[in-house]
Subunit: 464 residues, 2 copies
Amino acid sequence: KERFASISPAEFFKRNPELVGFSNPSRALYQSVRETVENSLDATDIHLILPSVKVSLDRIDLEKEVYRLTIEDNGIGIPPQVVPNAFGKVLYSSKYTIRQTRGMYGLGVKAVLLYSQMYQDRPFEVQTSPRGSNRVYYFKLKIDISRNEPIIFHRSSIENPTGWHGTIITVYLVGDWLRSKQKIYEYIKRTYILSPYAEFTFRDPEGNITYYPRVTNKLPRPPEEVKPHPYGVDIELLKYLIATLRYQYDVRSFLINEFQSIGEITAEEILKQAGVSSSTPASKLTDDQISKLVEVMKKYEKFRPPSADALSTLGEELITIGLNKVFSPDMVSAETRKPKAYQGHPFIVEAGIAYGGAIPPSEFPIVLRYANKIPLVYDEKSDVIWKVVEEIDWRRYGIEENQFPLVVLVHLCSTKVPYKSAGKESIADVEEIEKEIKFAIMSAARQLRLFLLERKKQEDERKR
Amino acid sequence: KERFASISPAEFFKRNPELVGFSNPSRALYQSVRETVENSLDATDIHLILPSVKVSLDRIDLEKEVYRLTIEDNGIGIPPQVVPNAFGKVLYSSKYTIRQTRGMYGLGVKAVLLYSQMYQDRPFEVQTSPRGSNRVYYFKLKIDISRNEPIIFHRSSIENPTGWHGTIITVYLVGDWLRSKQKIYEYIKRTYILSPYAEFTFRDPEGNITYYPRVTNKLPRPPEEVKPHPYGVDIELLKYLIATLRYQYDVRSFLINEFQSIGEITAEEILKQAGVSSSTPASKLTDDQISKLVEVMKKYEKFRPPSADALSTLGEELITIGLNKVFSPDMVSAETRKPKAYQGHPFIVEAGIAYGGAIPPSEFPIVLRYANKIPLVYDEKSDVIWKVVEEIDWRRYGIEENQFPLVVLVHLCSTKVPYKSAGKESIADVEEIEKEIKFAIMSAARQLRLFLLERKKQEDERKR
Ligand SMILES: Nc1ncnc2c1ncn2[C@@H]1O[C@H](COP(=O)(O)OP(=O)(O)OP(=O)(O)O)[C@@H](O)[C@H]1O
Ligand SMILES: Nc1ncnc2c1ncn2[C@@H]1O[C@H](COP(=O)(O)OP(=O)(O)OP(=O)(O)O)[C@@H](O)[C@H]1O
Ligand SMILES: [Mg+2]
Ligand SMILES: [Mg+2]
């Protein structure tokens, strides 16, 4: 006899931690560091604050491998009335918007708490003061897994005499430092290289303290929230936009106001092709009319391309500086492509190539993958970036040897990165994105070809 | 200013279809076929019904690529009062139990509906009659995404004069048949090869009808639901078991009754090591006592290994017959390992090797991956099975050439398969499982080595 039951999203991710990157104790430690650091960076640079992020990982139990992870940032803090849900309710987030952020699921830090609660019983602690607040708030909480609600063990606040703003979180985890050490250092270092405006401090369980100093005070332009692009809209999105309308728009005003890249003429053309009258109230559209509209919008070829306002690239200069710093190569080239879109989401691909110098030769290039400024460290071979690099014939660019000193960096930034899993480690193969990755790498590789031709020419001359 | 919001699980998976295998229209078609076929097989062979599964995929729109997918089975059907939730509520399932089933998340068919609703507006249709029922029930429904609840468009029932039992579902999807054709045929064929007791019929959009006849009436022993194994228990699981207790057990009876492999002596030893009195009522245990118990249970080495009752292997005979049928090789070997456990979940790894004959030589073996009798077709390179096959030095088994005709089949069965994503295409690298895969392949490969040595010896003799 089959027994039917429904479970909460907290129960679902608790039962299946490998779906959120917690597949074993060493990955769990890594994932806990990266999810909290990404939250701290989203709370700073996007809000024009020069990030100062302090990470401490201390072993607090000599028998059991229990660690205390503390992350402190100088970010915008969290309003006290939403703190319990922000940390205690799975699928709760301030990043469900159309804007490039590192976070996107409303899961990250909750997955850390779910894992923390599995093997030890100290609650999660958070201290926060929203920017401009005159109080510092302090909470101890856990997740009530079957209900997907926070359980508050302690709540207090004190005056904030120094005007400090930011967030300090403390979580206790059973982990495996020795096996995750190298990946955690790689993550911090690769984050730092491309965030020269940020300072990081990392104290590891062996007591080593590494300080990564700020190199510049120049922040990148923060991404802005934008409206959905009509290219790749779907029926349920349209229904959702209609259901949450604040005004009694007719369908023509609805299209113009609720989407980017639709002006009066475009709206009229779309409605004509869909056979829908412009004066129809948006809330009165039938399912069939909505379906027709979506069909027309998906095929319409004359939309302005999506706005890059929602995106924040690294830029060719930063990629070049970063590759030079890490690899001391003989040549570097970088390319930032124009904005494109997939399923209504704007995206930009950037690529960088470094060759020679101190790069160790190997059979396959060193591939550095980034998405929304996050370094991707695991699951390399299932990433679409890897697939593209593998399919490139490097001999066409002048590389003759079986072993060659080459680094390929690829950065995908988007209002929605299509990760293969909620653990955010590799990018799914979406056709529009795969194409752009290929063009970006080929474009940077053409510079490599010119460099190798020039170098060969100089060697031939020297021989005569 | 950050705007906070919570979303339903339906909204979460609708926004992120790539997390459930719907990353593009061709994969969406594949995923829709495989999720529904797996539901039909779970509704038959586990319940000692010889499966008859009919799949029809028809193109119903010549302009838009809209397909109608219909799956009919002779399974146990679905009770009418749970039909709306079974298809209309994300995270609703009858497989949240400790027993080997193909389904496990409570997501599969709902993901099909979510995708169906994105690009076309016909509702989902289901016709079902539970085994023994004298009525046939008919529903038309959709998912209300923001609420994660079913919307019922139509509900009716008629008498069931023939005593038919089973389920027929019909769903409309925008897809890409030409790009998914080969994968869908591969999925059906690889499912059929290892389910000789099942018959399949498949009508594709080009009108081709393929009939896969039943070869035997002998069904495998169905897996039974078991209690959790104490090895790898965690704090939240213990709390959940205590919270859902039907009797006022003391902690000793709780351990004996709620877990497999714990008898009176074992329970006493565990309680002694944890410093918890045997007569403590289970519901009165403190967080600290629960934490201590979990710590002791994870380290305790004298538990009986987990029961294989919850599992259902293919068996060496079936693997051998299947490989012979498909590849007509010169030799076949198969190995079914003993049950092990990870995180409290029993699992068994089986491997099969086929060499020579009609197998085309290539640089890397053909790898056929299975989990809980499901063929895994995508994401090969990120699978732990691939990782193990790649790390094996095949020359140690007598393979000298650069190109060789070799097939490696690996089947993982478990009460919980640790997939890397909810799209169920590749297995995460859990250490205990990786070890068992390695031992199973090496053991089957030793037979290959003996065969190649024997063959070489015969060739040498013929030369003299
Ligand atoms: N250090 C922090 N400073 C400010 N706000 C924070 C911080 N950490 C978490 N938050 C808030 O809590 C919310 C939930 O964080 P969580 O990591 O669970 O989800 P997310 O970052 O929105 O998405 P993702 O699951 O992709 O990480 C965030 O959206 C953010 O508003
Ligand atoms: N053809 C069918 N016959 C009988 N029951 C079915 C059938 N299809 C679905 N069900 C029921 O509906 C439930 C939900 O199906 P769904 O595919 O969403 O989840 P699942 O199979 O339990 O897990 P998964 O997400 O891993 O597939 C199943 O657990 C099963 O009880
Ligand atoms: Mg986050
Ligand atoms: Mg299913």
